[in-house]
């Protein structure tokens, strides 16, 4: 009796998990399917699910009309650059707050997080003017800079929670063994924090890759990443669903593959400290 109840419960929760997973995944699936349709079929009602005329012409058009590779390269440089710089700043910052906290450490952490609560559009005009003055509009450096600053609070918070979990004794042992602070960071702390660093890096890459507000507002063509590339398919002449889908699929493909292979790290990273 009891076993049957358990089996049924497992079956129900499995079904529910699949259903929920499918709901979350459906828009992406729909987008990928639409990218292989003709423009007519893409907004046909009722929509055809699998039985339509499969075509790859949208991909060809997209590549012809705009330079996918240039935008992809911009995305890689902007997401990668901002992540690397953020980590270089965040590692020492999180280290100092985790291992030699002062009375104000908690306040500083909260203050940093509070900057994420402000809507970015609130500072769009001043940032735009500053960028204009310094010639940073539509430049990769400018985007790297703004995305790095935007994600820095989250990166510091994540690293801070990882570093907190590392036993102090081990760092003190390194100090007794004659390691300077720099060597302690390089030889002891960083290798021990690798799982944490990896998931922080991944999350930050994904956030920077998907960031649309600043990239859309501060870039036009030269430095435009894939987000701008997608947006260019929603034009005044109307929406080209199939081409938009093809562009979006191309834009998310790299990060989707990265996310797929690093699922374990991501889940561990996001639930770190929550589950013991």
């Amino acid at each position: 009796m009891a076993r049957m109840a358990t089996t049924r419960r497992v079956a129900i929760s499995t079904a529910a998990a699949w259903l929920f997973g499918f709901l979350i995944f459906f828009p992406i699936l729909w987008m990928v399917l639409a990218s292989f349709k003709t423009e007519l079929e893409a907004f046909a009602i009722p929509p055809s699910f699998l039985f339509f005329h499969w075509t790859t012409e949208n991909y060809a058009t997209v590549q012809e009309r705009s330079d996918y590779l240039l935008h992809a390269l911009n995305s890689i440089i902007i997401a990668g650059g901002s992540t690397v710089i953020a980590l270089l700043i965040a590692i020492p910052a999180a280290w100092s707050m985790a291992f030699s906290p002062t009375k104000r450490t908690k306040d500083i952490l909260l203050w940093m997080l509070s900057t994420k609560m402000m809507p970015p559009v609130g500072v769009l005009v001043p940032i735009y003017l500053i960028y204009k003055t310094f010639g940073l509009l539509d430049s990769r450096i400018g985007l790297v800079f703004i995305l790095c600053l935007g994600n820095l609070p989250i990166v510091i918070w994540m690293l801070f929670t990882y570093f907190k979990e590392i036993p102090r004794d081990i760092l003190e042992a390194a100090r007794m063994d004659g390691a300077t602070i720099g060597r302690e960071l390089v030889y002891v702390l960083t290798p021990m924090a690798i799982p944490g660093l990896a998931s922080t890096l991944l999350l930050n890459l994904i956030l920077a890759w998907n960031e649309a507000f600043w990239t859309l507002n501060l870039s036009t063509s030269n430095a435009a990443p894939l987000t701008t590339f997608i947006a260019s398919y929603s034009s005044p002449e109307g929406l080209f669903w199939a081409k938009l889908s093809a562009a979006s699929t191309l834009a998310i493909a790299p990060i989707l593959v990265l996310g797929w292979f690093s699922q374990k790290q991501l889940v561990r990273g996001l639930t770190f400290g929550a589950v013991k």
């Binding site: 003190e172 042992a173 390194a174 007794m176 063994d177 004659g178 021990m192």
Partner: protein, 335 residues
């Protein structure tokens, strides 16, 4: 060389005074144990010597040189932590050799020294394992190996055996003592276990409430405790204390007699009469807890078996030469 001198060392965390002025002279090559109840400041004092905490006042001299402003890495000391604090991502070889690597020694010299240390500690078969693949005792030996390989001026041990089971603890206690004698390096060892203190130390520092109560050899502390605290802390089972008339007869506020210095006689043989509340028969020893009326509960130890049980009436006769006398403020009275 490893002579360590403390001059009026103080430490406070905010308004809390942890160490209230410690003066100590530790001779080169000696094994000194800091012992005291938890919270007495013994670990803090060790960390001050290590440099892991900054002193709030006073001087720490290593071989005559004041090191209060020297970072831990430059003090030439090595430390064994209670948690072992091994580097989890390094092999045993990497752990032991880390200090030498930091000192910039060439690789073959590091290997030679690591292998020699591993051989001393029977760790040779485990050199390429990670700490998580070792047992508690083996991890402890790696931590010790990491300390000895650097040939420091002194070893600092922070309750290193408290995570081991009883049998292993006794074995490691002997190994550590033997190793220290063999190397002739000064060692400071923190423990709350007075048996460890008595068996390992050349000299014991008894700490209480951030103050050094007494500094002397184990037998000095046992035979001539400076005050009530030391008298009660050193020795197991604890010394019996008696106040009131019996004490004032001897010109003291409190007198103390160790359980092994109370002779157990049949009732009416003089001494202090009482009823046995609990008798513990260990074979080698018999411990009697005797309800002695106005004197309270007294503990008596008899070497060998004694066929007495709860409810039996006995008389406890103190050895007059072994009665310790203390004044009102708890300090020992001599002569």
């Amino acid at each position: 060389m490893g002579q360590i001198t403390l001059q009026g060392v103080q430490k406070s965390f905010g308004p809390v005074h942890i160490i209230k002025g410690a003066d100590l002279e530790i001779a080169d090559g000696s094994f000194v144990v800091f012992v005291g109840p938890s919270g007495c400041g013994k670990t803090t004092l060790l960390r001050l010597i290590a440099g892991l905490e900054d002193v709030s006042g006073g001087n720490i001299l290593i071989d005559g040189k004041n090191v209060v402003d020297t970072p831990p890495a430059k003090r030439g000391l090595s430390m064994v932590f209670q948690s072992y604090a091994l580097y989890p991502h390094m092999s045993v070889r990497g752990n032991i050799g880390f200090g030498l690597k930091m000192a910039g020694l060439p690789r073959d010299e590091i290997n030679r020294k690591v292998e020699a240390a591993a051989a001393t500690l029977n760790l040779t078969p485990y050199l390429d394992r990670k700490p998580r693949e070792l047992s508690g005792g083996q991890r402890q030996r790696v931590a010790i190996g990491r300390a000895i390989v650097r040939e420091p001026k002194a070893f600092l041990f922070d309750e290193p055996l408290s995570n081991l089971d009883a049998a292993l603890r006794v074995q490691m206690r002997i190994e550590v003592t033997r190793l220290q004698k063999q190397l002739g390096t000064t060692a400071i060892y923190v423990t709350h276990d007075q048996v460890e203190a008595m068996t390992m130390a050349d000299k014991i520092v008894v700490l209480n409430g951030g103050k050094i109560e007494q500094y002397g050899s184990p037998l000095e502390l046992y035979e001539r405790p400076a005050n009530l605290f030391v008298a009660g802390f050193i020795g197991s089972p604890k010394m019996n204390f008696v106040t009131g008339e019996l004490a004032s007869e001897r010109g003291a506020a409190t007198i103390g007699v160790r359980p092994e210095h109370l002779k157990i006689e049949r009732e009416g043989a003089g001494g202090w009469p009482g009823t046995i509340a609990v008798a513990e028969h260990l074979g080698s020893d018999t411990f009697l807890y005797v309800e002695a009326g106005p004197l309270g509960m007294l503990t008596a130890r008899h070497v060998g078996e004694l066929s007495l049980g709860a409810g039996d009436r006995v008389s406890l006769v103190p050895d007059p030469a072994r009665i310790h006398r203390f004044d009102e403020s708890g300090n020992a009275l001599r002569g």
